[in-house]
């Protein structure tokens, strides 16, 4: 029997995503992902000063705001041939690390954990048992039975108040929840601790970026004055604050996040064989140890893996018109040269063309256009981006750090590398790279202090800041690894103004509709074969989609006061 189900909206993600799936005999046989993005951003940027682009793109959403700003300054620096001082590279790395650690921890505990952790079950746990588990898995000091009893009471009170709030959208009691009550309580306690912790670590962005929650960047380096002894600059006192936040972050990741991940995973090993989907993985790479322009020095390496063949890493050239392209065969856009064309982002077009049904509607017409997300391809291949891709590309590239941490996790869970190609693998990869980033941040901090103490306090290269020094026409690209995956901006500059600006964001790679050859993208592919025990509570779909950490910022769907689906905007 074939049954069509719709999950709309997928909750606990950024933005609005709709999944339609066909279930045959309890398993998903086909799936369609439909999303909405503020592609109009590209229209706002046209005609503006390229040095201002970072400030505008940073506003696109509130989750990884600074990643867009970072990518934008990289694109403009690439176009204008600007090299930035080593300290600026280090500070950008530290801000990158802060957003990553915050974002991954928030994803694990606050957006994804409730797919695996039954909050209601935690209320019936024995706090003594939770305490014993905690002491067994790590040295984290908050481990007494009293502490867990207090947490339990606090959550009980919260639930009894009727203000379910953050816990309102769970499928509590669903039989796919497998954790014993004591482990559920452990996770709930850390849900609360992670909230406390995450608001501290983001302060690093405000210290260096001067402003919060949308920090400042500048083309040519960083806009912060650093002087160890100066009261009004970023001085030793403030740097010590950064250092202590970085040390705390490493402790939290090593003693809470990773032990929890490894404690929960054994209950869900079946998910190491579900949700794999695509067999191609791409990473642009990031975390430069020298200049960002030197791809060989990236700690998170750049490349593509095809057919899960870890013996070969294919190089990526973001300027080659035959490599990265965007298609719109199933997206609500039109191209001047025809909707069957695949355009490189330098020549990208953003012309809306909504042909979907008028709301309210039952189902989308998936034979035609069915999403606001364009469909990007690398040399015609559908590829997955995100933490799993980064770890796989790094593993295959022979990165010592990445091989070590991946090997540690596989060993502890007693599974082979094939387990990585799954929903569980994706969730694990996010934790593992957090371990690495926490350490790299401490390394970069030490390097920055070393530079400053040796008298190098340069953070900005102003040589080509003035438009008079620019060529009349220039084009450039900026690549980065946002927490959710490969992010790129392409900019064309003409007569000192932005002539064209295109963003290809991670969730576009993963959430896009089929391409002209009917190849599925990552979300759609990953759902095939997923069991769905209860079509009215499609927890399994949510698990796999959440494992990608989707971010469809600035969606155009709106809700009425009761939070029900109300209206869909057809135009921006």
């Amino acid at each position: 029997m074939v049954k069509r189900i719709v999950v709309d909206p997928v909750t606990r993600i950024e933005g609005h995503l709709r999944i339609e799936a066909e279930i045959t005999d309890g398993k998903i046989s086909d799936a369609w992902s439909s999303g909405t993005m503020v592609r109009g951003l590209e229209i706002i940027l046209k005609g503006r000063d390229p040095r201002d682009a970072w400030a505008l793109v940073g506003r696109v959403c509130g989750v990884c705001t600074s990643m867009h700003s970072l990518t934008s300054v990289r694109a403009v620096e690439n176009a204008l041939g600007i090299d930035i001082p080593p300290n600026a590279e280090l500070i950008r790395n530290l801000m990158f690390a802060a957003i990553y650690m915050q974002d991954h921890v928030v994803h694990f505990y606050h957006l994804h954990a409730l797919d695996w952790v039954d909050v209601v079950s935690a209320l019936s746990a024995d706090p003594k048992e939770t305490s014993e588990i905690q002491k067994k898995i790590s040295n984290w000091p908050k481990s007494s039975p009293r502490y867990f009893a207090d947490v339990q009471n606090r959550v009980k009170k919260f639930v009894q108040s009727g203000q379910l709030g953050v816990f309102a959208n769970g499928y509590w009691g669903h039989k796919a929840y497998k954790l014993p009550p004591a482990v559920n309580l452990l996770a709930v306690a850390h849900y609360l601790e992670a909230l406390e912790w995450q608001k501290e670590v983001v302060k690093i962005q405000a210290i260096f970026g001067g402003k919060h929650p949308h920090p400042n960047y500048v083309v040519g380096g960083m806009p912060c004055a650093i002087n160890l002894d100066e009261v009004n600059a970023i001085n030793m006192e403030r740097l010590n604050h950064v250092h202590s936040l970085l040390k705390d972050a490493k402790v939290f990741i090593d003693q809470v996040y990773i032990p929890d991940l490894l404690a929960v995973a054994p209950y869900y090993t079946d998910w190491a064989a579900i949700g794999g989907g695509l067999t191609n993985y791409m990473a642009y790479g990031d975390q430069p140890t020298g200049s960002y322009n030197d791809a060989s020095g990236l700690r998170l390496p750049r490349g593509v893996i095809l057919n899960r063949d870890l013996s070969q890493v294919h190089p990526v050239d973001p300027t080659n018109p035959q490599e990265i392209t965007e298609e719109i065969a199933h997206s609500w856009y039109s191209y001047q040269g025809g909707d069957d064309k695949a355009l490189h982002p330098y020549d990208g077009e953003t012309e809306f063309n909504y042909t979907g049904p008028q709301p309210p509607y039952e189902n989308l017409n998936v034979e035609g256009k069915y999403s606001w997300v364009k469909t990007p391809r690398w040399k015609g291949h559908a590829v997955e981006v995100g933490p799993l891709s980064r770890m796989l590309v790094g593993y295959a590239s022979g990165s010592h750090d990445i091989k070590e941490v991946v090997g540690m996790a596989l060993g502890k869970l007693g599974v082979g590398p094939e387990a990585l190609f799954s929903t569980l693998g994706r969730t694990a990869a996010r934790g593992l790279e957090s371990v690495l980033i926490a350490q790299w941040a401490l390394d970069d901090y030490a390097k920055l202090i070393g530079n400053l103490k040796s008298g190098d306090d340069r953070v900005h290269n102003s040589a080509k800041f003035k438009p008079e020094t620019w060529a009349s026409e220039a084009k450039g690209f900026g690549l980065s690894e946002a927490p959710r995956g490969a992010l790129a901006h392409w900019v064309r500059i003409k007569d000192h103004k932005i002539e064209n600006y295109q963003l290809v964001v991670p969730t576009t790679w993963n959430a896009s509709p089929r391409d002209a050859k009917d190849q599925r993208s990552a979300f759609e592919a990953s759902l095939i074969g997923t069991p769905v025990a209860n079509a009215d509570q499609p927890l399994e779909i949510i698990r796999t989609i959440h494992s990608f950490d989707p971010c469809l910022a600035c969606a155009v769907h709106l809700y009425d006061e009761k939070g029900e689906h109300k209206h869909q905007l057809n135009t921006f």
Partner: protein
């Protein structure tokens, strides 16, 4: 704290109001924050203050430019936000509630229209209502700063 997305026309009234308050010198008396699309990043700010004046656009049944002051107790008292961010203001308020952060909150909202182009220019009714929005906010700030109301 003004929140909203400045790239989505009328949704940007919160950050704009903060900019105008800054220009009028309020920054010397109160902490002003352009919360943008900050989401979870703003949790610390809710913990740090006893009083919070929040400025946001709302999509309710009122005509565009309609300004009102709400005294929300729970997350569900917040009117529908224009941004459909799932990890948005309501989620933030839900979380603050869970954490026991309870700044005494005045929410000043302006109603905006459903269909808006992407862009950074306000629609005429919203532009016209900005002075009134500021008056409401300034009235609240003045009251909060008056010695009699300081606890």
């Amino acid at each position: 704290m003004g929140i909203g997305n400045i790239l989505l026309a009328d949704e940007g009234i919160g950050p704009k109001a903060v900019e105008l308050l800054e220009a009028k010198g309020w920054g010397a008396k109160v902490d002003l924050l352009d919360g943008g699309t900050g989401g979870f990043h703003l949790l610390g700010d809710l913990q740090d203050y006893r009083h919070l004046v929040l400025i946001d656009a709302t999509l309710d049944q009122n005509p565009p430019g309609f300004v009102r002051v709400i005294r929300p107790k729970f997350a569900q008292d917040y009117p529908p936000s224009l941004s459909a961010h799932d990890i948005g203001l309501k989620d933030l308020m839900d979380t603050a509630e869970l954490m026991g952060y309870k700044p005494d909150t005045h929410l000043v909202v302006m109603s905006v229209e459903l269909v808006q182009p992407v862009g950074m220019i306000f629609s005429p009714p919203v532009q016209a209502a900005m002075p009134q929005l500021l008056i409401e906010v300034e009235k609240i700030l003045a009251k909060l700063l008056a010695p009699a109301t300081v606890e």
